[in-house]
């Protein structure tokens, strides 16, 4: 149901023209409004705070679809930001939101109550200039606090990733903190869940590559028959299908782990730490992002390299997202250090204890 709704919505609205204009800096206001009206920007917010009170499983479906369609707006960031706010009991302001990937150092805040001031510089903030508000975390007295600031006046420099999605530099200079609240969340929660939302978007983009490539291989005729009939092409498309499927499973598994760790905002069950599944999902998607775009481009031939064709909206996002909220290397190091610490006799019991 949800999947159908969102797929229909993105399918209709995220047109080629929309994607092109978004890449020149135009905010897709209609699409955003549509998402808001369907309650899709607040799915992770409890009803008490005006949200849909859905879980991470629904968020996965939404974000995978957003990734598949390359939806050019900060839906993933907004879902995460509003969830973080809800965890601190803060009502999310209207409009798109973004997050600061790393905790703000203690000294950056002048106090610990609303009305206090934030002085801090953060780079590569997704959609920093388009989002009205940014959500940040900071450690206070051993607890992770979540805070909310306006981005107005804080945009120091515009930037973009390879997919021409905004990645801006925000410089807060005694910016008023609208709200600040304590949570039970881990200190690296934004980077952790950030990696998770990117893994869902990547899984979606990989599925999109597969769909586009299979369709093209069935249509494009060379040497008198569709190229999809050539064994060499079939072998490659089968590999692409495997990469897409594995990334999808790994990402969904990460969201399921997040659902177990955080069945509702504000709750964080330490014994159900989802770091393993999230790291695995980001690593798996990163590896797929190394293989799959090459296959899709190889199948498409020259046309796939033109800006006019839609393929690059997916491949450039994969090349960008694989590095965001931690590269595959970084998350793999974490998994590897963990495995080395568990040792020969600990690896398998640990893996199977997870489900």
């Amino acid at each position: 149901m949800l999947e159908e709704t969102i797929t229909r919505l993105f399918g209709e609205k995220v047109t080629h023209d929309l994607l092109r204009s978004a890449e020149t800096g135009t905010w897709p206001a209609d699409l955003w409004r549509e998402l808001e009206e369907n309650g899709l920007t607040r799915t992770l917010v409890p009803e008490a705070l005006g949200g849909a009170a859905s879980g991470w499983g629904e968020a996965f479906v939404i974000l995978r679809a957003a990734g598949r369609h390359a939806a050019p707006l900060p839906l993933a960031e907004t879902l995460l930001a509003s969830w973080l706010l809800a965890a601190a009991g803060i009502e999310a302001p209207a409009g798109p939101l973004t997050v600061l990937a790393d905790p703000v150092p203690e000294g950056a805040l002048s106090g610990n109550r609303p009305g206090d001031r934030l002085t801090h510089r953060a780079g590569r903030v997704p959609w920093g200039a388009s989002a009205g508000h940014a959500v940040f975390t900071t450690a206070r007295g051993g607890r992770t606090h979540v805070g909310l600031v306006e981005t107005k006046g804080a945009v120091a420099a515009r930037g973009e990733n390879l997919a021409r999605e905004p990645r801006d530099e925000l410089a807060f200079d005694r910016a008023g903190v609208i709200a600040l609240g304590a949570t039970a969340l881990p200190a690296n929660v934004v980077r952790l869940l950030g990696a998770m939302i990117r893994s869902a978007q990547m899984a979606g983009a990989l599925g999109g590559l597969l769909t586009q490539s299979v369709r093209y291989a069935g249509e494009r005729v060379q040497f008198g028959r569709p190229i999809g009939k050539f064994q060499a092409i079939q072998q490659e498309l089968a590999r692409l299908a495997g990469e897409a499927a594995a990334s999808g499973v790994a990402a969904e598994s990460a969201f399921a782990a997040a659902e177990r760790a955080a069945p509702e905002p504000g709750v964080w069950i330490r014994d159900a730490d989802p770091t393993f599944e999230i790291a695995a999902a980001k690593v798996r998607a990163g590896d797929a992002a190394e293989i799959a775009p090459g296959i899709a481009h190889q199948v498409h031939g020259a046309i796939g390299f033109t800006y006019e064709h839609a393929l690059h909206f997916s491949t450039r996002r994969l090349w960008s997202w694989r590095g965001e909220f931690g590269t595959g290397n970084e998350w793999a190091r974490l998994l590897g250090r963990r495995a080395l610490a568990l040792g020969a006799d600990g690896l398998w019991p640990d893996l199977t204890s997870r489900g």
Binding site: Q234, A245, A256, L335, G336
Partner: protein, 383 residues
Amino acid sequence: MNEFKFDLCRLPQETKALRDEVRAFLAEHLRDYPPSLRAYTWTGYDREFSRKVGSRGWIGMTWPRQYGGGERSAFERYVVLEEMLAAGAPVGAHWVGDRQSGPLLLRFGTEAQRRNLIPRICRGEITFCIGMSEPDSGSDLASIRARATKAEGGFRLSGTKLWTSGAHSCDFMIGLFRTDPDAPDRHAGLSQFIVDLRTPGITIRPIRDLAGDEHFCEVIFEDALVPADALVGQEGEGWNQVIAELAFERSGPERYLSCHPLLVELLRAMPGDADDGAAAAIGRQVAHLATLRTMSLAVAGLLEAGRNPLMEACVVKDLGGVFEQAMPAFAQSLLDLEPRFDAGASEYQRALALLVQIAPSFSLRGGTREILRIIIARGLGLR
């Protein structure tokens, strides 16, 4: 296009106790079983061990109680299987019976065949092999030439089966024979038989492999007479029955755990001060392993739910095969230790030596990788 659909599936909470039981059993019975033998995983053959497994009720776990089965869930079976494989337990003697022959007989066998054989499979008493390939038919099973001819008292079998794993130590073969040489379609006119390998007229010649082991066999039939009730299922339906059987084969934990004992020993052998590059390389393996397991479990869940996830199973087999086949090279990229099996070799080196040599065969088992990918491509709607 068919989009592949893996619905996530977690093992039910009840399986925890079972897992602990299996681990305790393995800890007890494999205490002195070295890594170099564990590396054989499901090709390790030990009738004694299989009888012990049978006595615990871990063979034919999902089958009806009336035939000696356990009527347990596919998940419980999955847990037993993956624990055995991860530990590199010698499950070879009951492997085929539990995985292929039993399900085949339950599905297509006569009541008498089931009563006679299934309980003994469950007890780990009898062992099976699969007679499909022939000298001139590898991946192309429809080209089978071995014949079964109706005769006084049953069928006379003639011809040669090749690459029959473990035939020299098995009691029965489930063999595919041509019963109607004149069938218009190459896939028609084939039938399956349960062949008692002690039948006169059968010669079994083990074939030494490159690693020095005898695992494959050539089985020669010279007018060997099997009774009429050796026929499994319908005469002429062998091809369709085999296809159904192959599907059982595709996505279990054996599809990505064949080199798991090596990964375990690699972790044991790694120096304490592994650098960041080594840590990342290991982490990447772990991520792939975890993902494959989740995918394999998803397929098991779909099967348990009565769905037919044929393509998903192919994808797991393909990815799993690439993963496990690459493991020896991965190990060598991290540790500069020679793969060897002579007197001074460590257990890690022995396990590595075996797997360096046999891992290339993993992409041949149950159809080559190329054919598997063509099947997947068809599943994507390409043909």
